[in-house]
């Protein structure tokens, strides 16, 4: 039994969404892809470094405002604006993180939350720059004219073009995250997660590494925020509100923080559920909450953790003559290593 290159399969499947689905599918897929990046960036802290941040929306919001302001007010091109979004979010993560990593556990979580609320309050009040409560409407789409004149893509709408652009940007970010997680730096993060006290005594400056992880997570959250502002056609203070910080937390726990792709799976499940339920009932927050509670009980290791557990058990059953390839390679069975 050969390993199926799931990453490639899923990427290919996502690429064909605009070809086979309706406008609505493209819309949902864009949402999922962007928010996956948000959740995956948080998991660098949650699953890999063992840091619980309740204020990750701050960097999402900062990225969204930075990108939108540059593209709308300064007419800057898309890619530099998006990169600036990540860098600005990373810079704020460096500033805030400097204080946060001095605290541990619940105090760390509370400080991240407090700082995020400050960011939200500033976005809410600073009318001249952020548009205050009204936000920044009409964020322009990036210049994607080359796609319009390309042979196959020419018939698509601008939303489809943006989806494909987003998909490529996010795929590159995921490749970068994967590389970081598999790097020596990533290994040190898991060491800190497992045992910060011991980590110190193999020569790890724990705070410095936690801060570095915080900055990297902030950077990718900023990229995701920048994309979301364009997708949403507007940026609003709610992007940095604490409820927005809860979303990637829920997605990550739902998908499984013990695996690299867990948060993305959780994001997809979360958004699809949300879409389905809102079309059903006006009591969607209540229904959503109930469904989430049930799912969390049914899948204690998250969706990915539970599924890989089942796969392992199924493969363990046939006698050893059947090709027993180690399943854990993609960091799936064992926790992030």
């Amino acid at each position: 039994m050969r390993r199926i290159p799931w990453t490639v399969v899923v990427f290919a499947a996502l690429l064909v969404v605009p070809f086979v689905g309706s406008r609505f599918y493209t819309f949902v897929a864009t949402d999922i892809v962007i928010v996956s990046l948000f959740a995956m960036s948080l998991n660098l802290l949650l699953g890999y470094t063992g840091l619980v941040s309740f204020g990750h929306a701050a960097y999402f919001g900062i990225g969204a405002y930075t990108c939108a302001l540059l593209m709308k007010s300064a007419n800057a091109p898309f890619l530099p604006s998006l990169l600036a979004a990540g860098l600005m979010a990373g810079a704020f993560a460096l500033l805030f993180g400097f204080f946060c990593v001095r605290l541990t556990r619940i105090y760390f979580a509370m400080l991240t939350l407090a700082l995020a609320q400050i960011v939200w309050a500033i976005c809410f009040k600073w009318n001249d720059v952020t548009g205050g409560e009204q936000g920044l409407p009409n964020v322009p789409y990036p210049e994607m004219a080359w796609m319009g004149s390309a042979p196959v893509l020419g018939n698509f709408r601008v939303g489809d073009h943006f989806y494909l652009t987003t998909l490529i940007v996010v795929a590159l970010c995921f490749a970068g995250l994967r590389r970081i997680v598999d790097s020596p730096f990533g290994r040190v993060l898991t060491v800190i997660r497992d045992n910060p006290e011991r980590a110190q005594f193999i020569g790890v400056n724990v705070r410095a590494y936690q801060l570095a992880a915080f900055v990297v997570a902030g950077f990718f959250a900023g990229i995701s925020g920048g994309l979301f502002g364009i997708f949403n056609r507007g940026v609003f203070p709610d992007f940095a509100f604490w409820t927005k910080s809860a979303e990637p937390l829920i997605m990550t726990i739902l998908g499984g923080m013990g695996s690299f792709w867990g948060p993305a799976v959780g994001a997809a499940a979360f958004i699809v559920l949300n879409q389905q339920i809102t079309s059903f009932t006006e009591y969607w927050p209540l229904t959503m909450g109930t469904v989430l509670i049930v799912l969390l009980f049914v899948f204690p290791g998250g969706i990915v953790g539970t599924l890989t557990g089942i796969v392992v058990r199924l493969r363990a059953r046939p006698p050893p003559s059947a090709t027993s390839e180690p399943v854990g390679e993609a960091g799936m069975v064992k926790p992030n290593a």
């Binding site: 970081i180 598999d182 790097s183 040190v188 898991t190 060491v191 497992d194 005594f201």
Partner: protein, 245 residues
């Protein structure tokens, strides 16, 4: 190698370590003994930088490390094991030891390389010398207590220490495991010309390998010297050995 001068530590009015002077020469094997609560673990934590002494000075290889953070002291050539087993439970045995190689040789800031490929030969060799080669791919948190202690020793040795502090290296082990561990420690100390400082409850272990013994009682150093001298010491017999025999 290590020189401790007049070090004290007080917690909320309780003096855990009281003006202790202690030194250990390169290549020496020394034990710190004393009844429960004598301040042994606090003393260790002061040396390794986990606690900051209220007064006093600590020199490692003639350099002042008083109040330095643990990671820096570790990088200067001190290794330690902890009283309660202290490993990275969700990583495999191999990854535990490999991580120590990565961090101690300052490769941890590399964002872009492949951690899997680093220090494979070194890790395999160290695991083999500890008798853990067949368990390399096991999740370390799932191992027996004795094996976890060996993994912890592996982590400490991967940092290539010149001086190794072991907090109760045989705690919770069976008699057979204890003997095996002691033999292992003696062999490794000789191979690497390590300086070894350890605390231990088991007097048999202490008197079998220590060349020098320091006795702590209520935070104070009441005796220091060769095993024979300590055994003869009247104070020691009264407060410590006397209680046991």
């Amino acid at each position: 190698m290590l020189e401790v001068t007049g070090v004290s530590k007080t917690f909320d009015g309780f003096t855990a370590v009281d003006r202790v002077d202690f030194s250990i020469a390169r290549g020496e094997i020394a034990a710190v003994i004393g009844p429960n609560g004598a301040g042994k673990s606090t003393f260790f934590n002061l040396i390794t930088g986990h606690l900051r002494p209220d007064v006093g000075r600590i020199l490692l290889k003639e350099r002042d490390i008083t109040g330095a953070p643990p990671h820096r002291i570790c990088l200067m050539g001190m290794g330690r094991s902890f009283q309660r087993t202290n490993i990275f439970p969700k990583l495999t045995v191999f990854e535990n030891v490999q991580a120590a190689f990565i961090t101690h040789r300052r490769r941890g800031a590399n964002f872009w390389g492949q951690s899997d490929r680093l220090f494979r030969a070194e890790t395999d060799a160290l695991l083999a010398s500890l008798g853990l080669a067949d368990k390399a791919d096991a999740l370390s948190g799932a191992l027996s207590h004795g094996n976890q202690k060996q993994v912890e020793l592996g982590i400490a040795l991967a940092c290539d220490p010149e001086i190794l502090l072991l907090d109760e290296p045989t705690a919770g082990m069976s008699a057979a495991e204890t003997r095996e561990t002691i033999r292992l420690l003696e062999r490794i100390a000789a191979e690497r010309s390590l300086t070894l400082l350890f605390t231990e409850h088991d007097m048999e272990v202490v008197f079998s390998i220590a060349q020098k013994i320091a006795v702590l009682h209520q935070g104070r150093l009441i005796a220091e010297g060769t095993p024979e001298a300590v055994q003869q010491n009247a104070d020691v017999r009264r407060v410590y050995l006397g209680e046991r025999h």
